[in-house]
């Protein structure tokens, strides 16, 4: 099953190594991990998507993270209503003739073209991981030359009413 965690960690040398090393040692698969500063100076926020075996493993992950001295807070967003976004840059082969077509494809995704070259265009798209997967599939026939994804970053919603996306809609099911 997929597990979405948000961590508040001390901004110390080696903290990313500490966290990723923990996953490696205990055999948890990381789908994505993003790190950046948080609202509090000296603290970073990590957003981690893991592929864990079951609920017991998910519980164990949280406890092992809590045990880390540099980890102040572990928030499990897996079953909560969240706002979650990922950004992708996609460079697609695009002849002059194809560009209008590509433009039409990306419009419903609210993606946009960032850079135009002689033989390709670079597209930026933001959204849940499934939305990005879908756009990539639609663009694949043109030939994807380069692809870069940031991984998911997320918050819990202030009002946890579960009206929008469930986790599985954002990161897909296992």
């Amino acid at each position: 099953m997929k597990q979405l965690l948000s961590l508040l960690v001390r901004d110390q040398a080696g903290v990313l190594n500490r966290i990723s090393g923990l996953f490696l040692r205990r055999g948890y698969n990381i789908d994505s991990i993003t790190v950046g500063c948080s609202e509090r100076p000296g603290l970073s926020r990590m957003t981690i998507v893991l592929d864990v075996e079951d609920k017991k493993a998910a519980e164990q992950v949280k406890k092992q993270l809590h045990k880390q001295i540099d980890v102040l807070k572990v928030i499990d967003l897996t079953e909560r209503s969240v706002v979650a976004r990922e950004l992708a840059l996609i460079r697609v082969n695009a002849s002059m003739a194809e560009r209008a077509e590509i433009d039409h494809i990306i419009q419903p995704f609210r993606a946009r073209i960032l850079d135009v070259g002689r033989s390709s265009v670079t597209i930026e798209v933001t959204g849940g991981s499934e939305k990005i997967d879908a756009l990539i599939e639609l663009l694949r026939p043109y030939g994807i030359k380069e692809l870069a994804r940031t991984g998911l970053t997320a918050f819990a919603r202030e009002l946890d009413v579960g009206q929008e996306a469930e986790m599985k809609d954002i990161i897909g099911t296992a």
Binding site: N17, V35, K67, I69
Partner: protein, 598 residues
Amino acid sequence: MAKTAAEPTEPEGAKEQRLLTGAEILIEALKREGVDVLFGYPGGAVLNVYDALYDAGIAHVLTRHEQGAIHAAEGYARISGRPGVVIATSGPGATNLMTGLTDAMLDSLPLVVITGQVGTNVMGSDAFQEAPIFSMSMPVTKYNYQVRHPREIARVVREAFHIATTGRPGPVLIDLPKDVTIQQAPYVEAEALDLPGYQPTVVPNALQLGKLSTAIARAVKPVILAGAGVLHARASELLVAFAERTGIPVVHTLLGLGAMPATHPLFLGMGGMHGTVVANRALYECDLLINIGARFDDRLTGNPKHFAPKAVVAHIDIDPAEIGKIVHTHIPIVGDAKAALERLLAMPIDPPKADAWRAYLKRVAEAHPFWYVKTGDLKPQRVVELIDEMTEGRAIVTTDVGQHQMWAAQYYRFRRPHRWVTSGGLGTMGFGFPAAIGAKIAAREETVIAVVGDAGFQMTMQELALLKEYDLGVKIIILNNFALGMVRQWQELFYAKRYSESLLPFQPDYVKLAEAYGIAGYAVSTEDALTRLLEKHLFDDAPVLIDCRVSPGENVLPMIPPGKGLHEIVGTQPPEGAADVVYRFGSSGIAGQEVSAP
């Protein structure tokens, strides 16, 4: 992204303060933590530290290998309850500590380990004796530091001791670049500890304790599984009082041995792979299992599917990550064993109606003692028994890992806590002898016996040099079966007797070896000769080495084969027709004694 922490700002008035080198600040900070002995080995990157140590008035034990230093520090920590402090140089000095760090991590021993590092100006350039110790030691320490400025040293040392000794104890490493040890700074007194992510829960939740007391009142087949957490919390007396109050029998883990006296009528012995039949039976059949400070290691549980299958499981542990990790737990209680037992003893708990259960366990214990067959040569079990009888279970005993370790655990009847030093989690060959050196330094007035195997002893025997030099009356008992005994046993039982690289027909002459290091050495192959030697040498304060040539091919039994459940224990009876069988209750105090209701 994570980046190096900002340099701390100088406090008011710092300008007038005397400047010290980083090395001097380190020594001063160690003194303020009350450190009076260091275990270490010098080298290029720690020359400044050793220079500051030269006239600092802190004792330093120079081992002959860094591994010896860290195992000695572990033995010291286990006996004294205080953190063992280790110093090694960069690169190979520090990499030689990895086994000890991992050992201390798995067995929750408080250590503060200081490693030199190459100067910050060359770090990352594959400089001479450079190794990435900060990242290498990360997964095998409770926490670690790399210091970048001398002003940080005092704070880091204070935090390191706090982290190593509180909550679930463990090793903390401080990596110290050489230039940081020579740069000058004022001694910046560490203010209040600033570790917002580290707040161990000591006091258990009253509601959870209430659930446990209800479960106790309802149980008819309760058992306590007590591990090293009881010892770390210095709660042995409370454990015994709680068992007596409630009449609940106690099983110990390997590392828990000694918390309850082995001769106590509620004591069932050690559980697990080579535990007593009665301890394993109790763990299998119980309807309430109260785990206090044990982590359900696989050598204890056997196949977890068959572990305490009918029981309500309660687990008291200072480390919440241990609860529910292996065995599904119904009553999780996060907290210190001492704090939990104090509160439980203050609660009006109805003792469970367990008369029939205790009587049953007593019958099981009496029907299934340990056994061995006399074969005319010296039995390893008998060696441990003799030592137990002569020391009345009161000596400090250290071991490596393997057959000799299991025989020591089975036959040495520990009457007192904090007298048993063994490598449990990591199972480190070569641990026992240097650990005995550290134990002796922690308790010079005690009899310290290193029971080691011939293979393990050869891994760290260079530390023999210390016995004479530091006047350490450690008694070395080698259970010499000319083999890697436990490897040989598994090959006999599970690999069709294909003894691949497990036999050691060539051995050094240990008597001459002892003499070479200036201590008395003997080789014996009979019980009489051994008895005479022990009578002569066990109670003085001089070191001695006794090479006990024991029955080759002897196996540790009973045994729960790997992957099997507690109920699938084998080797509980001697082979049919075996003559001259010796039966012993070993450390199973319930057998042969009256067990009364509380």
